[in-house]
């Protein structure tokens, strides 16, 4: 039992630390993340510049704080859009069933078979590339089917359980049954799905920004910064490494959190 919780605790510490840093970055960064300084080009990491500076003399630590904030925000927005819509659709179709359920789930099967980044690219190309809000909408839309599917399975499995049946016999409304009786019993499935969704969204956002069709300057994002960093890798390897490692740690922390959550409700291998 002790080992099981270790994932959760480690994930919580890592995610909590990064979240705190990102929140700090919203209000304060050691330097202006976009301020160039000709005298401070390609500085190695030091106490003045924790992660060094890039080819324009910009402080990388400040940029990472801001960029991680963007990536984090987009991933959170994606999970919010995808999670809320997906849970709603999944809960209703899972509970009521019927032909709408059949059609929507068949459609969902087809959509989830497609790699999410590909779908997001298509949506982006329709909405117009290069805007943060479009990235959120695109990724949010793309993640709806997978959330809906997870939720549907969870709700459908509860449909014929005795306590739901008795709630129905006592005259509880469908809304009350869904909200009060079923939702609390599906958290064990929904929460890990949300952490996985968050990670997929963060990686998808970073990939899209790396390709310069997601978030574009002046908004910094970890993905876009990595594409900048690749160009100056030879002179300033610390730029790519610190940016990339921040992204890895962000996803890793959330992954551990999900792992811990999954272990909480039963045996997982």
């Amino acid at each position: 039992m002790k080992k099981r919780n270790a994932y959760f605790v480690a994930g919580l510490i890592l995610t909590g630390f990064l979240t705190a840093m990102i929140l700090l970055g919203l209000f304060w960064t050691p330097y202006d993340p976009n301020a160039m300084d000709g005298a401070a080009k390609f500085l190695k990491p030091s106490l003045q510049h924790l992660m060094g500076t890039d080819g324009f003399g910009r402080d990388i630590f400040s940029r990472v704080l801001k960029g991680a904030g963007t990536t984090y925000g987009i991933a959170a927005a994606t999970v919010a859009i995808g999670g809320i819509c997906g849970t709603l659709i999944g809960a209703l179709t899972g509970y009521f069933g019927g032909i709408v359920d059949d059609v929507l789930m068949r459609l969902g099967d087809v959509l989830t078979a497609f790699p999410s980044i590909l779908l997001a690219l298509v949506v982006i190309s329709i909405l117009g590339p290069g805007k943060t809000i479009n990235v959120m909408i695109a990724l949010g839309l793309v993640f709806i089917p997978s959330f809906a599917r997870v939720t549907r399975t969870a709700f459908a499995s509860l449909r014929d359980v005795n306590y739901i049946k008795s709630a129905r016999l006592m005259g509880a409304s469908s809304g009350r049954i869904l909200w009060r009786h079923m939702l609390p019993n599906t958290w064990d499935v929904l929460l890990p799905a949300l952490t996985i969704g968050f990670n997929n969204a963060a990686l998808a956002e970073a990939s899209m920004s790396y390709l310069c069709i997601g978030v574009t300057p002046p908004d910094a994002s970890l993905g876009y910064m990595l594409s900048e960093a690749q160009g100056m890798f030879v002179r300033a390897p610390w730029y790519a490494i610190s940016t990339g490692m921040t992204l890895v740690l962000m996803v890793f922390g959330m992954g551990l959190l999900g792992e811990g959550l999954q272990h909480r409700h039963g045996e997982v291998f």
Partner: protein, 316 residues
Amino acid sequence: MKYAAKRILVLLVTMVIVSFLAFAAFEVIGGDPATAILGTQATPERLEALREELGLNRPFLTRYAEWLLGFFTGDLGMSYQYRQPVLELLQSKLSVTLMLSFVSFILIVAVSIPLGLLSSRMVGKRLDGLHTAFNQLCMAVPPFFTGILLSYLFGITLKWFMPGNFPGLGNNFLGSLKYLFFAAISIAIPRIAMTVRMLRSIIVREMNQAYVRTAISRGNDRGQVLRNHVLKNALVPVVTFLAQTMAEIMAGSVVVEQVFGIPGLGRMLVSSVANRDYPVVETLVVILAFWVVLAGTVADLLNQRIDPRLRLGADA
């Protein structure tokens, strides 16, 4: 056999639906390609002339039917951006992307199957927690980050390949293969972690079944049971998972091609998305969708061969 025919029919119908949706989506929301080509400064006469030239003035369904017909005859339309037939643009790139996907796939299968078997033995052991954490860490590494590190380490420092200087499959096949291998590693790392995880949970689940206990109580050792019974039963979900992986690799290569400067479909897709070059995007969507659906169909057919139970009722 009947089932195979049915699956192929389903595949074709799905493709027609996907192609229609792709065509319609760009039609409705895509805006005017003539303006996209000539810019907002162009005179109305020139816009009109270009629309006429591109055939944009005809009814929607006519153009869809023509486009669909073109697909079977190899006429995929003209790229707005390059003013070149789409087919010509994509031909050489498709083979590069397919090659990259195959190399990655082989790498994933070759590494993750032994690792998955090994990992299934570690369940409940002392280092199991560490192993799971390491697995999560590998899943967290984005391919383009690994790609940047690998191209620096093996390309610039060790000079095993020249980043940004892809030899081309026709010119130097082995050289290209070596180049693609490094790109494949970066695609494969998170995928291997996922596959190992999946294999492990399937094997552990099977090992807890009653038939395994029976086999062991009859005097078989763990290895024999694994080889003779468990692996056969584990094969069906593994095939399904690998088909999904194949589809995901193709999409993953979009990003990695950019990192390594590989002239494949991915770079084409990105540049045409950025420039709203719809004929190219539409074609790419259909090609990639075909790939995804094909992978699923092949997996289903393979599973039919593997597990006779799945054949029951399927032919009816």
